[in-house]
């Protein structure tokens, strides 16, 4: 039992370190913050494209992909090592994760040689940005309940409907989309999967304002959007099977450990003073809660270490990764709320100049409800653990065999 790289891993890490040192552009903080702000997204995207091209040329943009597709033919562990080392630098992130993590793998698996020739490389080099058009206002946890219609018209399909929660739709060049091509058959059987040009006439992208005030996602409306049949991925009616490929890739890329070490919380607790003038960290209530949350955080961190060990040994991590978000989202909501309680009347203040830790806790409190929902609600994740890890039966399904257009909708 140790935390060391294997000799091969150590060698790879050294290569990565050297390459990053030589290639990461300036570390100016203003640029860094611009990377994540919507206001400066055009600039940030331009920077990100430059960086992505560099990574791709070096093979680091898709470490686990085969070399013939522009990858490095590397291991998932090498991927982790690269991410680990890259995270020590401020580089523009996030614009290509969905494209390379979900869209292109789906296209590689279900597309034609011509598709692969045309689309893989531009995506890898950051020249073309992809988004994923799955969720709909009426279909969240129940993704197979989507209603966006695709109707055949000659060699084209005509799309009508609405998608939601689409990250990056506003700067995407292409998107993958799952549609309902036949509402008269049971719901999993009537779906068909396409990719499309996001600049097609009839595609309208609107940002969604979240309760945090942020606008990180979009609604995308489709009005008589034409998609050539040649852009269909998988057979007509086989869209669910294709979607599962995408979702599988989503799961693999999830499972990050959120705030395992609770740096801000511990920093606050160490400096804060209670009503009776004693330091917060000497208060038994604070100590009890801090210990609980710390133990959970470390548990998540070392669970991730166990997953990485499995990766390092060439095993595939299972649905255990669902644990991470399930625990950390509620935990973050709870400790943010507790920190705000400690601040008493001042806990409501969001102005960073007037709130301990620059308003970290009120911000975390307003963000945390999203974390309990996005990427699988707490409830769905517990279902996944119960069914796929513990082997308990699925929920009773009343919708399995009924034609989609006969399912109750409340409408």
């Amino acid at each position: 039992m140790d935390f060391n790289d294997t000799p091969q891993e150590a060698e790879f890490r050294a290569e990565v370190k050297a390459w990053l040192k030589a290639n990461v552009p300036d570390q100016n903080q203003e640029v860094a913050s611009a990377y994540s702000s919507r206001q400066n997204q055009a600039e940030a995207l331009a920077k990100a494209k430059q960086w992505q091209a560099k990574k791709a040329a070096a093979g680091y943009a898709a470490i686990t992909w085969p070399t013939e597709l522009g990858g490095l033919g590397g291991t998932p562990m090498q991927n982790v090592i690269y991410a680990d080392e890259e995270s020590k630098y401020v580089v523009p992130r996030g614009f290509f994760d969905i494209g390379l993590g979900m869209c292109i793998p789906t296209l590689i698996k279900h597309g034609t040689d011509a598709h692969r020739q045309r689309y893989v490389k531009p995506a890898l080099y950051g020249e073309e940005v992809w988004c994923q058009l799955f969720s709909e206002p009426v279909a969240g946890s129940d993704l197979a309940g989507i209603r966006t219609r695709a109707e055949k018209d000659g060699d084209d399909w005509i799309l009508n409907g609405q998608k939601i929660w689409t990250s990056g739709a506003h700067h995407a060049d292409y998107g993958i989309i799952v549609t309902r091509s036949d509402p008269a058959v049971p719901k999993h059987q009537g779906l068909t999967f396409f990719f499309l040009d996001m600049k097609s006439p009839g595609v309208e992208v609107k940002p969604i304002k979240q309760i945090s005030g942020g606008r990180n996602f979009n609604e995308v409306f489709f009005t008589d959007v034409r998609v050539p049949d040649s852009q269909r991925l998988g057979g007509v009616g086989e869209g669910w099977k294709v979607s599962l490929t995408t979702l599988m890739n989503e799961r693999l890329s999830a499972g990050r450990t959120l705030d395992a070490d609770m740096v801000e919380f511990i920093a606050m607790i160490k400096t804060f003073t209670m009503e009776d003038g004693s330091p917060a960290i000497k208060n038994a209530d604070v100590r009890g809660k801090l210990a609980d949350w710390y133990a959970q955080g470390q548990g998540l961190k070392y669970t991730r270490f166990r997953t990485m060990t499995a990766l390092s040994k060439g095993q595939t991590p299972g649905p255990e990764a669902s644990i991470g978000k399930c625990v950390s989202a509620s935990r973050s909501q709870d400790y943010a709320a507790f920190a705000m309680e400690l601040m008493e009347m001042g806990g409501v203040v969001t102005d960073p100049d007037h709130s301990p830790q620059q308003g970290f806790f009120p911000e975390s409190w307003i963000l945390s409800p999203a974390m309990r929902i996005a990427g699988g609600t707490d409830e769905i994740l517990r279902n996944i653990i119960a069914e796929r890890v513990l082997g308990l039966p699925g929920d009773v399904r009343v919708d399995k065999d009924m034609p989609f257009n006969e399912l109750p909708t409340g409408a």
Binding site: G140, M274, A337, M343, V348, V349, D351, D395, D399, P408
Partner: protein, 372 residues
């Protein structure tokens, strides 16, 4: 045993609910949220017409001279509607402070204005993050002048009159002091908070003319009594809000379908909402006991107030967050009203001091030899 409100009180409550449904829907709350207005002044004015602000103010000072139980039922409805008005600041705190400690002159001057809604009162206690401590207050009252900074002051941007808790230069204790906010030495700077539907401020006093409310140096004791009363009233706002949040979640769980079923047919949702209901009912029962103690000025008031406050705070916060969760992604959009409850629940949870503080007060009471 008649542990319930009277028929008249229930009628008043129904009227209040109807008025607020009509005049103070979430559209109005959102106007304040979006900064289109500072507070719902038309609602405030119409309430004043109906005499709500003066519910417990004697007729001699322009009030209705009713009892606390009437104010409790109104508070519940104000809480249910998320009304963006300074009701708690002006009615439960400022008017109550004047009523219990004001001189005849102070009462005669301010109570008719507070009662008619013409003036808005606030209480300024906090001086930044952390529990305000009697011996550590920086705000100083001396020689008829007040100097210092209070933050955050709930409804501060709306205030005509402020009751400020300050170190008393003469006695060395703490006094409640009355400040006419119109004085040019008072600076009111708006402050961003988690609930923009209730404006807050940093208030700065610079040799501001002020006068003692009640005996000099006895302010901390007055404040404690004031908070015990206000805690019961605020608990009614909280159970009103908690009830509304649960109702919203329930309605969504009935109307939203997934996997061919109403999501309210899944035990994960059913049991979550059952837990909400349980917390709400326990809080309601404790809050009723608080109302009894408040209305009879019972010696149980400090314990009853703390108990009501703790459970009402927990109930509203739980209902508000699980309402979002029940709504899934839609619950996290600005467009849905879920966040209005989430924000207000937090605001109410922290004004008057957090549940931590009130749990301490509750146990202080249990420590009394006579208790439990």
């Amino acid at each position: 045993m008649n542990f319930d409100f009277s028929n008249e009180q229930k009628m008043l409550k129904d009227q209040a609910r109807k008025f607020l449904q009509d005049q103070c829907s979430s559209t109005v709350v959102r106007q304040v949220l979006e900064g289109e207005m500072e507070y719902a002044s038309h609602v405030w004015q119409e309430m004043a017409q109906m005499g709500w602000q003066g519910t417990c103010i004697p007729e001699a000072y322009g009030g209705a001279g009713l009892g606390y139980l009437e104010l409790c039922v109104l508070a519940e409805e104000v809480g249910r509607s998320l009304a963006p008005i300074p009701f708690s600041s002006s009615v439960y705190l400022a008017a109550e402070a004047l009523l219990s400690a004001g001189s005849e002159a102070q009462k005669s001057h301010w109570l008719p204005k507070l009662s008619s809604g013409e003036a808005i009162g606030v209480l300024a206690l906090a001086e930044g993050a952390g529990a305000p401590v009697e011996s550590h207050l920086q705000c100083q009252f001396s020689g008829g002048q007040l100097t210092g900074k209070k933050m955050p002051v709930l409804d501060g941007p709306l205030a005509d009159v402020a009751i400020v808790v300050a170190k008393d230069g003469e006695t060395g204790g703490v006094s409640l002091v009355l400040v006419d906010v119109a004085d040019s030495s008072v600076q009111t700077e708006p402050l961003t908070t988690v609930d923009p539907t209730r404006p807050q401020a940093i208030m700065t006093f610079n040799n501001t003319p002020a006068e003692c409310l009640g005996a000099p140096g006895k302010g901390w004791g007055l404040l404690t009594q004031l908070f015990n009363k206000a805690a019961v009233l605020l608990a009614f706002e909280q159970i009103g809000g908690a009830d509304a949040a649960l109702q919203m979640a329930r309605d969504y769980a009935l109307g939203r379908y997934a996997f061919g079923r109403q999501i309210g047919s899944f035990q994960a949702i059913k049991h979550k909402l059952a837990d909400c209901y349980i917390k709400n009912e326990l809080a309601r029962s404790n809050t009723y006991f608080g109302a009894w103690a408040l209305s009879t000025n019972a010696r149980e008031l400090p314990l009853a107030a703390a108990t009501a406050r703790v459970s009402a705070t927990q109930a509203f916060e739980f209902a508000a967050k699980e309402n979002i969760q029940t709504h899934g992604g839609m619950g996290y959009t600005w467009e849905f009203d879920c966040h209005l409850y989430y924000r207000r629940a937090k605001l109410l949870a922290l004004s008057l001091g957090s549940a931590l503080t009130w749990k301490n007060r509750l146990v202080d009471q249990l420590e009394q030899p006579s208790a439990a």
